[in-house]
Each structure stands twice: as structure tokens, then as C-alpha cells.
Symmetry: T
Subunit: 150 residues, 12 copies
């Protein structure tokens, strides 16, 4: 039983997760710069934490993919074409709208993560445990951003 015998669907799930996490950290920075409103500072700082979480998770997932034999791809065009996330609006954005958008982003990602966690459980427990770790962090962020929706 070796890492090379892991089914390709695990690699696909990791690649899809990588695309979503990359889009997430690019969008989190995008909002971090363009947000405005009375809550600017709180949302601005919070988005930087989310960026760090997403970047670290993307790195972990990508390195797992190459470990099991699937070269990861997080180039701009790949992300632009394949990400299922709703896109951030262009230009400045109010703090409330930024929070709403992050909630939307995290809802999509965590839903898809939970499906993958079930799907790959028996195929590769190591990758599953890694995705559980990512879901743990993102679902916590989902709570924290949702809690700001008033």
C-alpha cells in the first residue's frame, strides 16, 4: 500500500480545493485593500488573518497533491477559469458588503470541503485529515464573519 496507489479522485479533490483557496486569498486581499466604512479597521485586519489562513492552507494542500503524484496548479488563469467562487466587485466596497461577500465565499468552500471529506475518507485518510483541518479553520472563520452580519 503506497501513496502512488491513491485514486486520482483524491488528486482532483485536492486540486479543486487548491483553486478555491487561492481564489479565497486573492479575494481576501482584494477586499482588505478596497473596504471602507465605519468598521473599516476591524474588517481590514480580519481579512488579513483570513488571507494568511487561506495561503497556508493552499500551501499544505498543494504539497499534499504533489506528494501523492498529482502536480498542483494554482496559476492565475487556472484559478480564473476554474474557481466556483462568486467574484468580488470591482473597486471600493462597504464594510457590510465585504462581510457579506466573505460569508458567501466561505459558504461555498466549506460546503464543497465537507463533501470531499466524506468522499475521500476511505481512499486516503491522510488527505482527509488535512481537509478536515482546513475545514476546521474555515468554518470557524465563517462563524466569525457571519456573526458580524448583525
Amino acid at each position: 500500500m503506497t501513496t502512488t496507489s491513491i485514486p486520482a479522485t483524491v488528486g482532483t479533490d485536492l486540486q479543486d480545493t487548491l483553486v478555491e483557496l487561492t481564489d479565497l486569498h486573492l479575494q481576501a486581499k482584494q477586499l482588505h485593500w478596497n473596504v471602507k466604512g465605519r468598521h473599516f479597521r476591524n474588517v481590514h485586519l480580519h481579512l488579513d488573518e483570513l488571507t494568511s489562513i487561506a495561503r497556508e492552507a493552499a500551501d499544505t494542500v498543494a504539497e499534499r497533491a504533489v506528494t501523492i503524484g498529482f502536480p498542483p496548479d494554482a496559476r492565475a488563469m487556472t484559478v480564473a477559469k476554474n474557481s466556483p467562487l462568486p467574484d468580488a466587485v470591482e473597486g471600493r466596497i462597504t464594510d457590510a458588503a465585504a462581510v457579506d461577500h466573505v460569508v458567501a465565499l466561505l459558504t461555498v468552500i466549506t460546503d464543497r470541503l465537507r463533501e470531499r471529506i466524506v468522499r475521500i475518507a476511505d481512499m486516503d485518510p491522510v488527505s482527509q485529515d488535512m481537509l478536515i483541518g482546513v475545514a476546521t479553520d474555515l468554518e470557524k472563520q465563517l462563524w466569525m464573519f457571519s456573526a458580524q452580519q448583525g
Copy 2:
């Protein structure tokens, strides 16, 4: 004399720089994961340093753009469409090819940076000083990667 009177071309130059730096940190990570060869570890670690430099520079430049009234845009599609950088190949890549590709990326960016530094000198010395700082770091990396070309 206020930041609001700065010519739009400065904003454009910052936005273009942001796109290039974002593409750079995405590609640096892409190579970081996919590189292989006898020099794997050195190139792998070096690419992580380059990623950090590019990410920090992108953040600095984007915040300057919004400071002078130009909302920055580094979303995946914007980067995919507008970046002038050659794209990394898909999949695994040898260490020598990775180094060659980084040299190509940095050559394009530093050449364009030097032109912008001259162009905006009289329009906004603060932005100019910032781009000089970015060029200082990237030209040093260009030397260090070129020195590995044998």
C-alpha cells in the same frame, strides 16, 4: 498639493505593478511545488523567499494605489488577462528550467519597473520611492537566480 492631485498615470503604473507582482507570487509558489532535480531543496526554499518578497511588495503597492485614489485590482481574472509575464509550464519542472523561468519573470518585471521609476519621478516622489524599494529587492533576486544559471 494633495494626494488627490496625483496624475492618473501613477495609479495605472501601480496597478500594473500589482498585477505583475501577484502573477509573480502565484508562479513562484507554482514552481515551489512542482520543481524537481538534484537542486530541488535549494530552489524550493529560494522560491519561498521570492514568494514572500512578492507578496509583501504587492501589498505595499496596492495600499499605495488606494491611498492616492486608485482602487487596486488583483483578482485572479484581472491578473490572468493583464499580466505581461510568460506563464509557467503545467506540471513538474526541472530545477534548471525553474531557475530559467524565474530569471525570465524577473527580467520582465524589473525592466518595466525601471521605466516606471523614471516616468513617475516628478509626479509622485512617494510612489517612486516605493517602486525603487521594490526594484531593489527584485533586482537582487534577479542576480541571485541568474548566478545559478551556471
Copy 3:
């Protein structure tokens, strides 16, 4: 598949764990202050580590509960009414008796944790993974305190 579709029993298990962990950190501090005997310093310091572990675990579990839609409750009266843990004696306590009491506390908690880990496995792998992490730490403490029973 969303966090809002997680069965209520997961929330109940997290809430019950929170009550036990809160009682644990309150009792660990209680013993930390009241212990005496030749082994005072060792037990006193060890109990402070246990307090930290229990407090951090309680925080993690409570935040997971609210994340999946179940408001946690660790107020004094809630803990006093609902905790299944044996209560510490009033006043000063010998080092040997303190160690025995901690072993009793940890035995109750880890037994219940192991049942919950099995019960919620299919309902919410994220919460399960979190409880496994808590059990890992507390079972290790159980070994370390038991080892002192001579």
C-alpha cells in the same frame, strides 16, 4: 451539505464536553491552590499545565458549538448543575489525594469523550477530529497523573 445540517446531538455532545472541561479547569485550579505535602511543588505546577490544557480545550469546543449553530453555555450554575465529575473536597488536600482526584476526573471525562468520538463520527467529522484532539491531550495527562500513584 452545510454546517447548519449537522444533527443536534453533535451540539449536545459539544455542550456536555464544554461543561466537563470547565469543571475540570475550575477543579484543577482549586487543587493547585489547596494542595500540600512533600510533592507540593510538582503537583502544584502540573495542575497549572492541566488548567491550561482544559481552558484551551474548552474554548475550542465552545467555538465549535457556536460554529455549528448551538450556543455554548459554561456559566457557573450550568456547570454546577450538569457536570458529571466528582467534586473536589473543600479546603487543603494532600498531594497524594490530589493526584487520586485528578485521575478520577480524567477517567470520567476520557471515557465519555471516547463514546462521543464514536457517536458523532459520521455526523460531523470536523467536530469528531476536534474531540479526538482533546482526548489525545487528556489521555496523556491521565497517564502522567496515574504514573504518580506509586
Copy 4:
């Protein structure tokens, strides 16, 4: 003149303070988890600082009590029965309501602390100095939470 000749009322005052501080840190955490609203992040973080202050103060006061010969008691039932603090509501709570509740908690504790500081001044200057230190921190928090009441 020894620590063993300190009047029992000092021990009682320390014990009462311990009960209040323990209730405070349990309630601060309770609100930390259940708060929601536009100001969620600020209040959530602020409550964690308050929890740390209350926990450290409780530890200091309890160790002083045992030092002068009065075994401290901060078990859940003792706190539930004896705390004079108003109880936090069950479940989620708005940020404004959470701030109001903290102001109410701190008002009760600081008023009682100031009375004890006067009462034990001549009986035990060491304990008095300790309670002055606790009051210094909690009255500062009272200002900071009150300042958020608009």
C-alpha cells in the same frame, strides 16, 4: 507579627473577591462565544482580554488567601451559590447587550472592591495592595467598556 495573626475578615474578603473574579471570567468567556453584531470582532477580542485579566487576578487572590491561612474555594457550585453578580442571559447576545452586561458586572465588582480596600487597610497592607492592583485593572476595563456605550 505574622501572617497567621491576620484577622479572618481579610480571608473572607479575599474569598468573596475570588468568587466574583471566577464568575467574571466564566461570564466573559460566555459572552466571548455568544456575542454577535456589527461590532462582534472588537467585543469578542476585548472579552478575551478581560477573561485573562480576571483569571490572573483570581489566581493571585486565591494564592494570597492560602498564604494567610484561608483555603480558597472557587468550585463551580460555590461560585454559582455565592456570586453577587447578575447572570448572563442564555444563548446568543447582541454586541450592545454584551457591553451593557459587562459594565454591570464590573460596576458591582469594583464597588465591592473599593469597600474591601478601605476595610482591610490596617489589618493586612499586603492584601490591601493586592486588591488595589485588581481594582486598578478592573476600573480601567470599566472605563473602556463604558466608553463603548455610545
Copy 5:
């Protein structure tokens, strides 16, 4: 070519900057203490960061002045008489009014800094580079406080 041949106007520009930066850090602290409102904590913390930036910049500028032969002067009376900044109101102030006042202060200072940066460019590139550094930081703060104006 020596530092002693630098025109007196550079010294004057540094001295004027020093007065403004000193007034800025005194007023930032003044608001830090007196602010109130729902956004108290965020504005309170943000003002402390501004105080640190202004104090460090004042120190740098004053040491540059003495380096080129102009003894700096930032005594209370000198600042009170010569500062061009609008004065903070006496007593408590709402969070919105505090933010507005900081925006007004930073607008005055950054406008004057940009004029000086142009004026002394050929006289003393070292002092110019220093003022560019100060402007970089303060213009960034101007963006961040403006972004909170709703």
C-alpha cells in the same frame, strides 16, 4: 561638499515638520484618552499606532536637523505657538468626530510635507528621502482614517 553646506531652508523645513509631528503625537494621545462611542476600542487602538508613528518620525527628523547643524526645538511652548494644525476640542469626543479630526490633521501635514519634498530635493537628498519616508507612513494613515468616514 559637506553637511555644513546645506542651505538653511532645509533646517527650517525639518524644524517645521518636527513641530507638526510633535503636535500630532500630543493630539493623537489626547484623542486616544478622550474618545467614546461604539467604535471606541478600534479608534482608541488606532490612535496609539498613530502616536507611535508620529513619535518615531519626530525623533528621526529632529536628529537629522541637528546632524545638518540646526538645533531642533520641540518644547511645549514652541509647538503651541508655531503648529499650523487645528486644535483638538477639550474633553470627551465621539469616535466619529475623533476620526474626522485626525483626517483634518493628516491632511494639513501631508500637504505641507509634499511641498517640502519638492523644495529640498536638490538641496539635500538625504533629508528629502527622510521626509518621503515620513510622508509614506502618514499618507497611508490618512487613507486608513479616511476609510472610516463611512
Copy 6:
């Protein structure tokens, strides 16, 4: 018994202390920049420590004032008008003269502090304890600067 029942004279004493501490840190920096002589480096560094002590003490005292209901005021004009401290000379100053001036400043402040400590003892033990802390630090500095007078 609440913080709101503290006599106004305590607020006045805190405000007067704040003015003196602010003048002290402005003058300490003034000397830090303008001092010269064989002992330049020692006095220059020592004055920076004094600046830090005075700034931290000013912040503590100002926050206590607002805590007990008296809005603090440390604006440049307020300090310039109300400070009882002798003013530093304009321009460069010898190391010996700088030391003498600091001794004069600290003598005035510590004398006034000791009077206030006695006066407010029964009115507000928390504020008294705070002023004792400030006096502890400044009297130690007074010794250290006096010891340099030869």
C-alpha cells in the same frame, strides 16, 4: 461606593501630574537631541530612557483621570501654559548643563508628587497607588542623574 464619587481634587491632581509628565518627556527629548560634550552618548541614551518612563507614566495617569470621570488634557498649549517646570534653554547644551536641568525638573515633579500622594490617600487609594508608582520611578531617576553631578 463608586469611582464616580471620588472628589474632584483627585482629578485635578491627576491632571496636574499629566501636564508635568508631558512637559518632562518633551524636555527630555529636547535635551536628547541637543546635548553635546564628552559624556554625550551616556546622557543621550539616559535621556531616552527618561522619555520612555515619562511617556508611559503620562499615559497611565491620563487613563486613570478619564476612568474617574475627569477628561485629561495634555495638548501643547495646555502644557505650555500650566507646567510649573523650568524650561530648557534653546539650542545646543553641554552634557553637564543637561544633567543639571534634568535634576531641576525631577526635583520639582517629585516634590509635588509626594504632596499629592499624601493629599489623596483617603480619597482614592487606587490613584494614590498609581502616583506612588510614578514617584518610585522618578525618584530613582533623580538619584541616577544627581549621581552624575560629580
Copy 7:
């Protein structure tokens, strides 16, 4: 349900893992000292990281074994007799041969770990989670050493 009811096979699996991890850290050090070649420094440093990972994993696994009632054994003779790993050659070794040997070691260990992870899943989820953590780290190292095989 208690830790004492865990099947003996879990203890055996932990003990076998401990033997392999101990052999791994001894061999990693062996190569760390004896490696030579143009890539000496990279391989030398990389082997030290592998040693640390293996030592920490061995400690974690051994403490888990004793926690569930199976005294761990990692004495030299036990390791020498029972380890399934191929042995390092005696004396100096080229960098390429060292990398090949590490790949061989990690292939054996990770294959066996993956079997154990499946086998003990239902017997002891805590031990399983621990072995998944070990596999996560070692499979990542397997990728990184393999990537150096050219």
C-alpha cells in the same frame, strides 16, 4: 469504554512504529555525518530536519503506547533486532546514495504506516489520528527526498 479496553494489536502497531522511527532517526544522523559530494550541505541540513521529525514522532508514539497500557521499547538491541528498515552502509556515502537510501527508508515506513492506519481505525481513533499525523509528515519528506533523485 476506557483506554484499558483497547485491543493489544494497537499497542503492537505503536511499538512497531516506534522501532521504525527510532531506526530512522539513528540512520538519518548516520547519513548526516557521513554524507559527501557537491550537494553535501543541502543533504546534511535536510537530514537534520528529518532526524528532528523522526525523534519527535517517536516520542509521541511511545507516550501513546504507555498511555494505553503497552510499555514502549526503543533500546538499541530491540531496534537492531526488529527494525524492518534496510541498513545504511558503513562509512562515507555520496549525496546521491544518501538520498536514495532515505527514499528507501521512508518508502518502507510510510507503506507500513498506511496499513496500520486502516487496521486500527475502529479500535482506537486517537492512536489512528496520531499515526495519520506521523504519516503526513513522513510522506511529505518522501516527496521532498524523491524530488532530489533527478
Copy 8:
């Protein structure tokens, strides 16, 4: 009201405290080296903490003495002649005897400290506050060593 008007008795009390604290840190080290018995390591480490506390307290008290005009004296002969503390036995000592001796030392010092705290309250509140701080730490140590007496 100046530090120079403080009654000589305060200086005497500080000097006496200094002698006792110096004897304490010399004896704590003496026991730290010579202790033996099953509890060696705990007592050995605990005595090092006591040494640090006594040394820091001695430094604080001595600097206060010189600050109020009384040159401190902690030379070996002065300590040997004037210390009221019982002397440690020569040579190796059992852990139980070492703990008993520390309890005896701390009982003498804390009793004397409490008398001084009352005596100098009105003469010099700064020195009083300092001695209260020393008593706080030493009485806590007295509890911790007493608790080891079985």
C-alpha cells in the same frame, strides 16, 4: 517635601532589609548546592527561584536607600555581623531539612518586614509600597515552602 526630608529610620529599615535579603540569597544558593534526597531536583530548582527573588529585591531596596540619602551596605562582613537570620548548617543537607530551614528564614524576614511596613507608612509611602512588594513575594514563597513540610 523632598526625599531628603525622610526620617533616618526609613534608611535604617531599608538597610536592615537589605542585610536580610542578601543573607537570604547567599543561604538559598548554599542550600541549592548542598541539598540531597529524593526531592533534590524540586528543592534545588525552587531554591534558584528564591535566590532570584531575593537578589532582585535586595537590588530594589538598596537603590531605594541611596535614593533617599542612605548609602546601602551589603558587604560580606556587614551581612555576617548584622543578619538576624539563623545560619545554614555546613555541608550537605537533606531536602526536608533544607525546606525547614527556608521556612525558618522566611518566617523571620516576613515578620520583620510587616513591622517595618507599619512603622514607615507615614514617613515614606514610596519605601512602604516597595517593602509591601517584597513582602508579597516572600510571604508567597513562605506558603510554598511550608506546603512542602508534609
Copy 9:
């Protein structure tokens, strides 16, 4: 005079020391996991310090061996065959027995080290100085473990 002219006996002495130190750190960990008794925590922690000391010393000695041209060998079988140390018992061990065993181990190693220090003094002062450093640390540990023998 070069490192290559150092007599082979120095290499042999370093190799023998390496074997002993490796056996020591394996056995120290073995006891660290299997110890039990009232003094568990102290002995458990102390053994971890001993492990670190032995591992660091082993690394230093092995690197010295290769430096002077003798490839070191600390593979499990080499250690198992060649170590002169008495072997730890299998399974759990009481704290007193563990301490006795460590004293036995350290007595053997330090006796042999002292002989080597004399033997190689004139052959290689650098290696001698290194062994003196190892002996310094181990003889100190010998004292500390012996002191616990009651």
C-alpha cells in the same frame, strides 16, 4: 601538522564515546517513557534534559570524528553490539530504580571519558577539549542524579 596526522586511537576513542552517548540517549528516553512512582514527573522531566545533553554531545563527537578522518558509526546494531553500558530493564520501572540505573550509566561513561581525556591529551588537544566539555556536563548530571538517591 594537519588533522590528517592525528593518531587513529583518537578516532577510536571518539567512536567509542559516540556509541556510549547514543546508548545513553536511547536509554534515557526508554526510562522517560516507562518510569512511574511518586517522583514520576521530576524524573520524567529530568530524563528529557539528559536525553538532550546526550544527543547534542553525540552529534558533536561524531562530527569531530569525521573531521579528523574517522567515519562515525551510531547505527542501532553497532550500538547494541559495542556499548559497555548496562541495559535498562524491559517495561515499566519505579522512579527509584530509574535513578539508580542512570547513576550506573553515568558512572561507566564518565570513568571511561576521564581515561580518554588523559590518553589523547598530547595527540589532539581539540578532541581532548571536546571530551572535557562532554565530561563536564555528564559529571554534573551524575551529581544531580546521585543526589536523588536519598
Copy 10:
């Protein structure tokens, strides 16, 4: 526009600066060891700071030279032959003479730096910015050493 099109005079200016900075850090250490006099400690410590500044600046300048295609040369003979700095006297030197010598060294270097900053402004703004940074630090040191000339 590339780094390879930068005029050779920039390379020459960087090389000349490197020679001066290397001579400066060698001489600063020379004085650091040989200084004597009542101000020994201050001058000794100050010279170590100057050494660090000069070494870091030399490294930065040398790496810039190679970056733009001019191999730097700071070998002892190159420095000995080409440095325009006055040489330190042989043997011990008084503190006053050491300060005078440093002032002479820094005067030569900063004068030459200011000329280069003007000369290369249009040829290579990146190198210019770097030399401005070096001048900023060295002119500050020139002030600080001059201030000690009495």
C-alpha cells in the same frame, strides 16, 4: 531598459564606496580594541555599533555592484591600496584621539558619498537610493561622534 545598461561609472562609485566602508569597519574594530581612557566603555561600545553599520552597508553595496554587473573587490590589498581614508595609528589610543579619528574618517566618506549621490541620480535611481541610505546612517554617526568632541 535593463540593469545591464547602467553606465560603468555607477559600478566604479559602488566599488569605491565598498573600499571605504571596508576600511571603515576594519579601523572601527582597530579602535574598539585599542582605545583607553575614562570614556573607554562608551567609545568601545559605540565603535562596535559603527562596525556593524559599516559591515552591513558594505554588504549591501557589494551585492548591488554584482547585481549591475560589476564584480566587487574588498580584499585586504585592494582596500590597503585604494582607500582614501587616513589610517589609524598603531597601538593603544586615547578615547579623545579615537573620537577625533572617527570624525575624520566619517567626514571623508560622507563628503564623497554626497558627490556620488548627485552624480549617479539619473544613471541608476536604485543605486542612488541605496547610497542615500548609507549616507543617512553615516551622517548620523558623524553627528554623534562630533558631539563628543566637547
Copy 11:
């Protein structure tokens, strides 16, 4: 060959060194508090460094003594009776006199240390190496204090 066979003269030499080092750190602190003069701050800080060096050396030497079977003795009376060092004068002392006294102290100690280093070389190389380490530090201090004698 064991530590128990080391000649008694080594123990005597360590004990004598301990007495001198203890006297040294007591006197260094004594001067640290009582020094005055234009160089106060430098000498005051330097003496604190000397205190730390002497205290750490005393601890090392004392632990070596007990390691080889000679219980160390650094009680006040032992030091007062046996120290060969000249005693510090009572009361305040000028900076120049303090430096002279330290030079005298260090001259006595280092002379005696050098004799012991020769005497015990063949008896106990470990103790010798330790005394060489102490001499290295103290002779360096002797140079640094002598250099201040003008």
C-alpha cells in the same frame, strides 16, 4: 578512574575560588549602588555586568565542587572570614575610585586563578578547564576596567 578519586586540593582550590567570586559579586553590587561622579552611569552599568559574570561563575564552581565530593560553602561569615580580597570602603565612592578598586579585586583573583590552573592541571582536567573559563572572563574584565584608568 572516578570523580571520587580526585585529590582534595582540587576541592580546596574550588572552594577558595568560590569565596573570592562571592566576595566579588557582593562588592560589585556594593559599588554599583554607591558610585557617583560624571561617569556614574557607565560604571554603574558595567558593575552590573561584572556582578552577573561573578554570580554565574560562582554557581558553576560551587556545583563542580559538590560534583567531585566537596560541599561548597559561600555563607556570609565564610566569605567574610576567608576572602583575600581588599574590602570596599563604606558609603559613597567616586567613579574613579570604584574603577581602581575593581582593578585591585580582579588583579588578586586572576593572579590566584592562574596559579590554581597550573596546580590542578594533572589532577582534574575538567575542573581546570572550568577555571580557565572563569579566568578568561575575569581577565577580559580586568582589561576593560584597567582601560578606564586613564
Copy 12:
């Protein structure tokens, strides 16, 4: 027996060592900047570690020289004239040639160091121990660079 009675040959040996170490750190930096080739990064980083080791050793040796009465001399011309080391080539250098040159440098220095260690053993054990420390570090580097020669 004093440091002033140490034979002049010890001073000469320290001075010669200082010259060699200074040449070493200048050449190590020279190679650090000019190296190129596939192994650039590893050799570049390794040379920086060597520079730090050589600089720290030079400082230690120079301070020892002045301590025993021989003023050290590491000025550029002194090093250029007196260093026995082969000189680095001018301009860029391949990684293999750089490694070969470092091996040549370290071979010369360590050979000479070993002779001095024997020669001064009886004259000054403190200086000898210091040179042994330098040799320990440089011989280890010699191994590490030699190991890269393929």
C-alpha cells in the same frame, strides 16, 4: 603570576592569528559576493556563516591580545602585508573553485593554529584554550567545505 608576565611569543601568536582570521573573513565575503554556478545559493549562504565565525573569532583573539598587553593590529595594510593566506582571484568565480579556495585557506590556518596551540600551552593556558576553541570551529568548517569537493 600575572597576565603581564606572559611571554611575548603568545602575543605574537595571537597577532598572527588575528591577521589570518581577518584575511579569512574578508575573503569569505569576497567569495560570497562573486560566486556563481548551480550551487550558488548553498555556497553563498555557507560563506556567510564562515564570515561570522571568522569575525567573532578575530574579535575574541584581538581582545585577548590587548588583555595580555599586546595591542592588536588588523588594519588593511597590516593584513595585506602579513597574511600567509593565498589570495582570492579577482572577479566572478565558480562555486567549485570557491569551495576549493576555502579549503586551501582553512588548511593553512588550521595547520598554523595547531602549531601555536602546542607552543603556547605552558605559557598561557587561557590563550591556548581560546585558540583551541577557534581551531574547533575552523576544522569543522574545513570538513564541511572539503565534503563538497565531490
